[in-house]
């Protein structure tokens, strides 16, 4: 069956649900796991003809902050994988939109399945699918397990 499962996270509580389910599934079928966090690349705020640079807030600063948030979110996945006794690698991808980064990570890691929560941070309600999850589903070439 699946040998290598990609688990995207945005660090939200809902995403963690997908993470736990993904780790359990990986254990049940003997797969390894790659966790991915997608950081949107820095875009300087543009007003009219020029960019505004705030002193003390630079691209480097943004990247560091993004990496810190990503590490924290990915640590939760590593912990869940360790608890389930599953081999787990982590990756930070700088890409926008997030779904594209997720699918790129899946291709790059030669994953054969994606386990994703139905919603992440941007959830509106219980009845709909999260926007990134929807796009992952629409564009993925490999099976996607949606956890609710």
């Amino acid at each position: 069956m699946f040998k290598h499962i990609l688990i995207p996270t945005d660090g939200s509580r809902l995403a963690l649900k997908g993470v736990k389910a993904g780790a359990r599934l990986a254990r049940a079928i003997g797969a390894r796991v790659t966790a991915v966090y997608v950081v949107p690349p820095y875009v300087p705020p543009m007003y009219g003809e020029g960019a505004i640079y705030v002193p003390g807030y630079s691209v480097r600063h943004y990247k560091e902050q993004g990496a810190r948030v990503a590490r924290k979110a990915l640590a939760a996945v590593s912990a869940a994988a360790r608890a389930a006794g599953v081999k787990c690698a982590t990756r930070v991808v700088y890409d926008r939109p997030a779904w594209d980064g997720i699918l790129r990570a899946a291709r790059g890691g030669r994953c054969d399945a994606i386990v994703i929560a139905s919603h992440g941070r941007g959830a509106i309600g219980g009845a709909l699918l999260g926007s990134e999850t929807q796009r992952v589903l629409a564009h993925s070439k490999i099976p996607v397990l949606v956890i609710r």
Binding site: M1, F2, A21, L25, A28, I29, S118, A127, L128, L129, Q134, L137, A138, H139, S140, K141, I142, P143, V144, L145, V146, I147, R148
Partner: protein, 137 residues
Amino acid sequence: MPTDGSRLAERGVRAGVRFAAALGARVSGVYVLQAIPARGASYAGVPAREWARRFEAAARKALAVIEIEAELARVPCTTAVVRNARPWKGILAAAHRRGCDAIVIASHGRSGLGGLLLGSETANVLSHSRIPVLVAR
């Protein structure tokens, strides 16, 4: 595991059976019959009873594919024909009634509109399901 008898749905079925085999799960196949011709009427010169018979034959044929795949993989399997005007509602009701803990469904069925979008029934199953859904492509 819902099917509509299409080739794409069959692909989902094969993925679902492999998945179940790997997990040691059992599977339920379900086919949702949409249109039940009114009794006594006749469409295109064919009496309604004959239509109903044809629809049911198509349903059983689609479910037989699931039974065969499951038997080949040695996965315990039951199948059922469900009647509902909306396939996704029938699918979710069947999952609920049978106490399923996951749904495996193809990304498209009979009315798929190309590779980029999700099938409409699959999209509806995804947005209304309370249990995990594996979308096979």
